[in-house]
Structure formats: structure tokens, C-alpha cells
Symmetry: C2
Subunit: 477 residues, 2 copies
């Protein structure tokens, strides 16, 4: 079959053939050289126009952003940095692009500006590389789970439960916004709402995924989740995608094995399949780094960071051990940490996590057996009565990337924990049923997909790794 995309065309190892290709003009210089891109690859292909024999009105319309249809002959390139080029025999303008108003000029734009033009930003090399990587990582995730006997479960987005407890929720409603129906005692009558009760957007699919693990064995979710927190930071989104595997008969040690194997596998996938895009982003970061003072530069390049994860065993360290290490560490003693670690029970911050990974162990770290009172109600209580079988995976540059746990499988212990937190047994009747009928040890973890994309692309603002970010005050597009 004839290649129809630039990606296909550049994979060919023969030249001198007729080609027929469509794409968008990135640049046009010397009235002669079109850098053409069609999104299939980071690479542009150079198209050489015979300007002496081309209508001047056509030449004028070859502007940045214009869509063109080019026919010609593939030839070895005379220029640097490319092996082949197209000698154009015919060019048709499919769609013009007014160079006076087209937002994506052939120059460096700020990421803030490009966010305001999120509908066009994938026409830049950086964002097309990021979004191709996002797609490849998604595929790597589905592929990993499929090859390892997991079933994909679509847990519900609209939930009637407010017991998930992972954060503030958005209400989903179609009651009249101004004059909602009221009950006799003057409260909003949610019984008249669409679902007959108050409903929200999910913050996690885990509890529902557990029901499927306890019947199908190995399952995972990969879907959108929501937080209505007013966090305007470079690490938070109101809408983001999450991956949550859940496995019956698996304990915390198995959970750690799974998470390590999984993370290595998906990162290895992009190293093997998307190296060109990674190299480009790596170079971009190195160029950025050169502008910074020495002290702020990264110790590892992007690709080194990815290899750091793939090539190292993840060090498994109990929370208690980690606290000892941190308490006795230089930055703690010299008060270089923003949050000084004084005693067991403290919640770790990103600075502590990064210290453990980057300075102390020099490898990815899995912390486990956290204090019960800083973790969720459904985590398996240890025999010590004060820690739970939770684990967090810590990565360089980013800190926590995965959080997981063995789940509390004992009905009475779970009920006690719910009672302490004031969670309603009636509402979670189905979750409790799993502990009544054929309960067993089971475990799982959650990975915020955008955190993974940030790690794999080196992008530092989470708004730049999702197509159309939703954040407080912003739901454009």
C-alpha cells in the first residue's frame, strides 16, 4: 500500500517513488522549502517547490498553518537533518491560514498562551509529542493488563455514594437551579432529582472495582475522576484520568510486585516505541535547564529518569524506617526541609519523598505500612493495631506517583472503622457484602494518569498533559 502519512513515508527504506500526501505547512522559506507536518510523527518532511513553474497566487497561499495536498517524487535530500524530501510536482491549497491572525506562529510561544489556544496547540512540536506520548502510555497500560489476565471494568462516573472519601465532589443534577423543589421541612428534595437522590461525580472507582475483583479475579479501571477542590496549582486538575487495578487473593507484597512490574512495563513501552518524541522533549528540557542557575538544574535528563525507573529495583522501605532516615537526615537536622520531621505519624511531603528517592536510596522507593490515621478507612489494619497495609511508590522529581493498599477483608474490623468515621453501613451495603460472602485478601492501587504523563514527558504543569484541562474558573472548549 502507498504510504499516506509522513510517519509511514519515513519508515520506507527506498526512495524515488511517487508520493501523494496531505498535511499542514509548518514553515515556508525561500519561496521554495515547505516543512510539512501531518501529526503522524514529530518529523516534518521537506517539500521542495519548483517556484519558477508554480502560480504566484498559489505560492502566496503557502503560509504557516495552511492545509495542502502535495504530489511529487521522493528523493534523497540535499539538506541537512533529513534523509529524504519531496520534489513537488503539484500542490493544492486545501485550506488557507491567514498569517496575520493565525495564533500558532513559527516561533516560541509561552505555554500559557498555548493553553488559551488548546484547540491548536497540538500543531506545535512540543504538544504533538506530549499527546502522542499520552496516547502511547494509554495503550501500554491496556496492553499490560490484557497480557496479564486482567479485565477492564468501566466503573460508574455518576455516583450516589459520598463515602468514597477521597475529596470534594461535584453535584450532578437536573433540578431547577433557581427554584429547586423542597421537602416539607424546607430542604432541597433530591428525591425529585433525575436519579431520585443526590448524585455526584466519582472521585474513585476503587470500591466498585473491588466488587469485580471479587468475582472476575483481576480487574482494572481506567477512566475519568473528579475533585471539586479549589486547588489552583500546577499539580491539580478538577477532572483527570485514573488507573485502578484490583486483584483478589493478592496481598500487599503481591501488590508491590504488580505495581513495580506495571510501571516498568509502561515506561519501557514508550522508550521502545516513542523514542523520537522522548528525545525531542529531553532536548527541550536540557535547553530550558541551561537557562537556570546550576543549583536548580536537573540531575538526570528526561530519558535518564525513565531509565532510572526501568533499570533499578524499587527499594521497599517501611514508613517507620523512612521516618528514622528522614529524622536523622542532614536537611532535617539543618532545617532545610520546609516541613521538619519530628515524630512517627507525620504525613510525608513531596520534599521528603524526593529526598528518599534522589539522595538517600538513589532508586525508586516503595514505602509501606503507614500509620492508620493518615490513610483511608478500607485499608487492611496490621496486627500492631496502628499501621495499615498501604504502600506509596515514590519517583524522582515527582515524589508519590502510585498509592495502593491491601484492603480490609474482615467484616467486623471494617464496620468498626466505618463507625469511627461516621460512614453509613446502609449506604455501603454492597461493599460490606463482599466481606460477608466469600471474602478474601485482596489489594490494588491507583495511578493518576496525568502524573504518569508528566513524569514521562517532563512537562511541569499538569494542564499541559491533558487536552482540555478543567481547573477552578476554567472549562473552556
Amino acid at each position: 500500500m502507498k504510504p499516506s502519512t509522513i510517519s509511514e513515508l519515513l519508515k520506507q527504506d527506498f526512495t524515488l517513488q511517487e508520493v501523494d500526501i496531505k498535511g499542514w505547512v509548518r514553515t515556508f522559506r525561500a519561496n521554495r522549502f515547505i516543512a510539512l507536518n501531518d501529526g503522524s510523527s514529530l518529523q516534518n518532511i521537506q517539500c521542495v517547490v519548483d517556484f519558477e513553474n508554480t502560480d504566484e497566487n498559489i505560492l502566496k497561499r503557502i503560509t504557516t498553518g495552511a492545509a495542502v495536498h502535495i504530489k511529487g517524487e521522493l528523493a534523497e535530500s540535499q539538506g541537512k537533518g533529513q534523509s529524504v524530501e519531496i520534489k513537488v510536482s503539484s500542490i493544492e491549497i486545501l485550506g488557507d491560514s491567514d498569517p496575520e491572525t493565525y495564533p500558532i506562529q513559527p516561533k516560541k510561544h509561552s505555554f500559557e498562551f498555548l493553553r488559551e489556544n488548546a484547540h491548536l496547540r497540538t500543531r506545535t512540536s512540543t504538544f504533538s509529542a506530549v499527546m502522542r506520548l499520552r496516547s502511547a502510555l494509554s495503550y501500554a497500560i491496556h496492553k499490560y493488563f490484557n497480557e496479564n489476565g486482567f479485565f477492564y471494568v468501566h466503573t460508574p462516573i455518576i455516583t450516589g455514594s459520598d463515602a468514597e472519601g477521597a475529596g470534594e465532589m461535584f453535584r450532578v443534577t437536573n433540578l431547577d437551579a433557581k427554584n429547586p423543589p423542597l421537602t416539607e421541612d424546607g430542604n432541597v428534595n433530591f428525591a425529585e432529582d433525575f436519579f431520585g437522590k443526590e448524585t455526584n461525580l466519582t472521585v474513585s472507582g476503587q470500591l466498585e472495582a473491588e466488587t469485580y475483583a471479587m468475582s472476575l479475579g483481576k480487574v482494572y479501571t481506567f477512566g475519568p475522576t473528579f475533585r471539586a477542590e479549589n486547588s489552583n496549582t500546577s499539580r491539580h486538575l478538577s477532572e483527570f484520568w485514573m488507573i485502578e487495578p484490583e486483584v483478589a487473593f493478592m496481598d500487599l507484597a503481591g501488590n508491590m510486585d504488580l505495581a513495580e512490574d506495571f510501571m516498568k512495563s509502561v515506561i519501557n513501552y514508550v522508550l521502545e516505541n516513542n523514542f523520537e518524541d522522548l528525545e525531542f522533549l529531553d532536548q527541550r528540557l536540557q535547553d530550558e535547564d541551561k537557562k537556570k542557575p546550576q543549583a536548580e538544574r536537573s540531575e538526570l535528563t528526561l530519558i535518564e529518569k525513565l531509565r532510572f525507573v526501568v533499570d533499578n529495583n524499587f527499594k521497599r522501605v517501611s514508613y517507620t524506617e523512612a521516618i528514622d532516615i528522614l529524622r536523622n537526615s542532614k536537611p532535617n537536622k539543618k532545617k532545610k526541609f520546609k516541613y521538619i520531621i519530628n515524630e512517627w505519624g507525620a504525613d510525608l511531603q513531596s520534599e521528603h519523598e524526593r529526598f528518599l528517592v534522589e539522595k538517600h536510596f538513589k532508586c525508586p522507593v516503595i514505602l509501606f505500612d503507614y500509620p492508620a490515621n493518615i490513610k483511608a478507612f478500607y485499608m487492611r489494619l496490621n496486627e500492631d493495631g496502628k499501621t495499615v497495609r498501604a504502600m506509596d511508590i515514590l519517583f524522582p522529581g515527582i515524589g508519590e506517583i502510585v498509592g495502593g493498599a491491601q484492603r480490609e477483608e474482615r467484616l467486623e474490623v471494617l464496620k468498626q472503622k466505618m463507625a469511627v468515621l461516621g460512614l453509613d453501613e446502609e449506604e455501603l451495603w454492597w461493599y460490606l457484602d463482599l466481606r460477608k460472602y466469600g471474602s478474601a485478601v485482596h489489594s490494588g492501587f491507583g495511578l493518576g494518569f496525568e502524573r504518569l504523563v508528566m513524569f514521562a514527558t517532563g512537562m511541569s504543569n499538569i494542564r499541559d498533559v491533558i487536552p482540555f484541562p478543567r481547573t477552578p474558573q476554567n472549562a473552556e472548549f
Copy 2:
């Protein structure tokens, strides 16, 4: 590696080895034979208990639904219908299941009852088969697109746009439900809502997907979409998953080629990879059919229906031709159709679509070039000024399964159509930008994922092909 699931174990071609396996008891008969299932496969494995040497208290706890850990030796089976069985050397009860209260008894339950126990229904053969197939179809979709150079795009779930026009929307808010803030003129002040304006749950990712097609070339979405319509039918959900590919430089003919190849590929995937589950569901349907009067029985079995799609070319027929065929058809003349087709311009119903597929052409059908006024504003107007380059794919037993179109790429024509419908140009500025800067022919289609799962599993109620269905008055679990 030692097999740890029943699926892995049954793939082994040797016997007489030590096995160590965990699962749930489906049945226990004659104080001796456990049918054990772990969800990895439709198959149970028979575990033979040496009851004379097993503690009576343990034997009593081997009840339907109990989780057990079994060690033993794999041996050729003496029984019918299975090649291997496990001679149990040790059995441990991991989690009891009270036979008096466990909802999933070893008998036939109605689907209505099982819907009320959706957290346990995948412990039945039918629902575990359906959900394994749902997972396999998801994977087949990602695999197809990945292998064909498409990038996966996560379009936003929360949208500030109400111009998608595909149906009623749910509002997403965190304003006070009872006393929302008001503007000076007494309306709800959505400027104070989380996103600074009124927001809803998306009904389609197509418009956003178009922005990515017009930069990355070939893209697809696969995510949840929502309809706030009060439709309590066996074909409608308030929350469902949709697949929407979108391709730059592709016209309607290319769109039909893509859709046909795609549908054949994903159905072929489950025929090749999930035949056991398909056979089980096929048999189930045949058994159901036998209870019906002759006239209501299916002409094709489930597997025959799937092969009908894979083995036949999809017949391409213009809407105008189809109307002629229908107008002159026997059921139309004899008034057997519920909706009689009298003239060009009529919207086709499922009965007409099925007639074309099942009676007239006897193959899947693609109808194209529909009247403009029964289709969406963004579809490409034909030169006749009255039809648009839309296409619907019709399948046996179900009617329309895919709907797609070439998109209107001409700025002025699009603006005129929006004006007629009263759609705000300001709101869709980014969508119009695609027609201002490097516009080109492009096309795509939408596939309701649950429709595909219904078709591939033969399930007749859409609530039975999604884990936790959301419908009017119901958001349980």
C-alpha cells in the same frame, strides 16, 4: 511459572502436577465435588475432596459463594465434560458464605433480580461471560486504532458548551443547592460556580476530537458520555461509553471504509479470542428461543450474527434509494410497519433499518446522504443543497449501530447553518477556528459501546452489559 488461575491451568497440556489455587465455590455436591471458579474463565474446575479425611467443620463451610484455597494434584478427570480435575490434598476456607442469605444461589435468577445485586452478578456464568467480552471488545478497539496509526484523545467530560446538540444534559455544579447566589436581575449567578460559568456533562467528544484530528491527523475518543433524557427503555442509559474516531483528509467514502474495517476487526477479535464465552451465550440464547413461538425466534444464532458481519461486505445504499425500497416493500404496502414510509425526508425507525438488513439486502448496510434537516449542524452539505454527507451503519437484530459524517469544512456554510439553528458563534469560536486555519475535508463516526456489547453478547437489555447502569431513578452502587 506455576499456573495461578483456572484459565492458565486449563491451558496446560500436561497433568499430574501439584497445583495451588484460590477461587469461589459455585457448587458442592455429594460432600465431595467442588465446582470452583475464579473469574479468569467461564470454566469451573472440579476439585475432588477426600471427605473421609477432611474435618467435618470444614466440609460444612464449603458452601456456594465461599472463598477457598485449595492445594492438590491435577489429574485426568473421571467425570464428563471436563478433561482435568484437582485431587484436593488441603482446603482452607478464606471467606464463608452463609447459604441462607447469599443472594446468588446455584439456580436460575432473573436478570431483574441480578441487576439489584449488580455487585455480585458477575459471580454467575452469564454476567462473567458478558463482562469478559466487554473487556475484550474494549481492548480490540484500542488495538485496532493503535495498529492503524490513530492517537487516543481524552476529550473533556465536564463541558462549558451546550452546543453539542446531541441531547439533554446534566448540570455539574457545586453551588449551594437550596440558596444559589443570584445576579442583580434575579437569575442564578453561575459566574460564582466552580468553573465560573454553567457547566454540564458531555454528550459527545466529537467537536473536541476534531481539533485533534486537524493537528494529529487520525485520532479517536473512548470515554463516558451522558444523556439526561427520561428514557426508561431497554436501549437507553443515562451514562454510557462512546467511541468516536475522527480523521483529517478523509471523505465520506473513506469514513465508510474505516467503519466497516473497524467493526469487522473488533468482532473478529472476540470470535478469535473469546469463543468459549460466545458459545456459552449463544447456547443460552438458543435455549431461551426454544421457549418462544416459532415466529418470534431469531433467524440467526449469536455466532451466526457475528459471522454475518465479519463475512459480508457492507452494502452501501443512499438514503434516497433506501426510501424507494422501503416505500415499495411488502410490509409498507401491507401496513405491517408501525411507521409507514410515505415520502422522502422521513426519519427511519429500527423496523425499517432491520428490514433493509435482514430481509432486503441480507447483509450489513451503510445508508448515506441523509436529508440535512434530520441530521446535525456540523455535517457536510452536499451540492444538492438538501442532503448531507452522513452515514449510518445498520446491523441485524439491532438496526443503527454506528452514525457518522463528513464534517462541514467550509467556514461560511457552517456559520450559516449555525445561524439558522441559533447556535452562538462566540461559544464555538475554537470550532470555527478549525475552518479558518488550514481547514480540510475530515470525517468521523460514533459508536455507542454498549450497543456493540449488546450485539456481541446477544443481551437484550442495555442495563445488563454495563457494570453499574445509571438510568432515571437509579444510581445504586
